[in-house]
């Protein structure tokens, strides 16, 4: 057994070595700057997340004209609030109603509106979710704790490089008196993927 084999005992340790090897070679060759990698990682760890999408949803709940613009062109509407960026260039907002519930998946890989929602949760990228969301969406929703009346149609949207989706969840009843900021807190990441509903205020 070589030294490499000993250190790279597990798949993760092996992957770590290769990731470091690739990064250091690219930097050495001047093809990449270390600062650029740090900046990307820091942005997605600290700044870009589902809060952006939640602000967009809450605004759509309180401002009918904004809601219209969001459904017309979600990318442009989100940009009005300073939300968006890389891999959120072509976002389609799909609205939940009393009759329709929308669910988003990427069957091929993990396409997701990063600029609005940050990076996807691990279950979104799992082979099981990607396979089952299209085949048996109602069962998948039940496992996420979402029970829909029989009459509600479930529409499943398969993301691609061309279009990524944002679910506009229904505004919970009993929230008429809440401010926009208070509404933001009710918008969960799951509700914007369709595997959850907006929270009901306690």
């Amino acid at each position: 057994m070589t030294e490499t084999d000993i250190v790279a005992r597990t798949a993760s340790a092996y992957a770590s070595l290769r990731a470091r090897a690739i990064e250091s070679l690219l930097i050495e060759k001047g093809l990449l700057s270390e600062g650029a990698v740090d900046a990307v990682v820091s942005a997605y760890e600290n700044d870009i997340g589902p809060m952006g999408g939640a602000r967009v949803v809450a605004r759509a709940w309180v401002d009918p004209a904004f809601r219209e613009r969001l459904l017309e062109n979600a990318t442009a509407a989100a940009r009005e609030l300073g939300v968006g960026g890389f891999v959120a260039e072509h976002v389609l907002a799909v609205e939940n109603t009393d009759d329709v519930h929308n669910l988003v998946v990427c069957t091929l890989c993990s396409c997701y509106p990063w600029g609005l929602l940050g990076l996807p949760p691990s279950w979104y990228k799992s082979p099981e979710y990607r396979a089952r969301a299209v085949r048996e969406p109602r069962s998948v929703l039940q496992e996420f704790g979402v029970e829909l009346p029989d009459g509600v149609e479930i529409r499943v949207w398969d993301s691609s490089s061309d279009v990524r989706y944002l679910v506009l969840p229904q505004r919970p009843t009993g929230t008429e008196g809440l401010s926009e900021d208070e509404l933001v807190a009710l918008v969960t990441r799951e509700s914007m993927i369709g595997t959850g509903l907006a929270k009901v205020p306690s």
Binding site: S12, R18, A19, I22, L25, L32, A36, V37, P127, R189
Partner: protein, 119 residues
């Protein structure tokens, strides 16, 4: 609490902006390198995405969708490796040699820890 319970809780650990997005430091580096590389070198994101789809599809064909051992970022890393090699940015033998050198360095560093305090 079992270890898997603890991991499950970490997985959903709420943050102001969501959750802990990377389980291991190398996942963050692999992610950052792919995104930054496409930004700095002008590579089309589709070049990366196409390879990621192929890597995921290959793994699922070999292992099935419900098997253990799935790691999204291992597939991501494999796609990144294919991208840099196929675009001629880095040679695959170079990566092998560098990985071995880093492993050697880590092991060497570890030995030193017994003799010296590192700062």
């Amino acid at each position: 609490m079992t270890v898997s319970d603890a991991i499950a809780q970490t997985e959903g650990l709420p943050r102001a902006n969501g959750e802990l997005v990377f389980a291991e430091p190398w996942e963050a580096r692999a992610f950052g390198v792919a995104v930054a590389l496409c930004g700095e070198r002008g590579l089309d994101w589709e070049e990366f995405r196409g390879r990621l789809i192929a890597e995921i599809d290959g793994w699922e064909r070999a292992n099935g969708v419900e098997s253990d051992g799935w790691s999204y970022y291992e597939r991501w890393l494999a796609a990144l490796e294919r991208l840099v090699v196929e675009r001629g940015l880095v040679g695959s033998e170079e990566i092998e040699r560098r990985a071995a050198a880093i492993a050697h360095h880590d092991a060497h560093d570890h030995d030193h820890d017994h003799d010296h305090d590192h700062h």
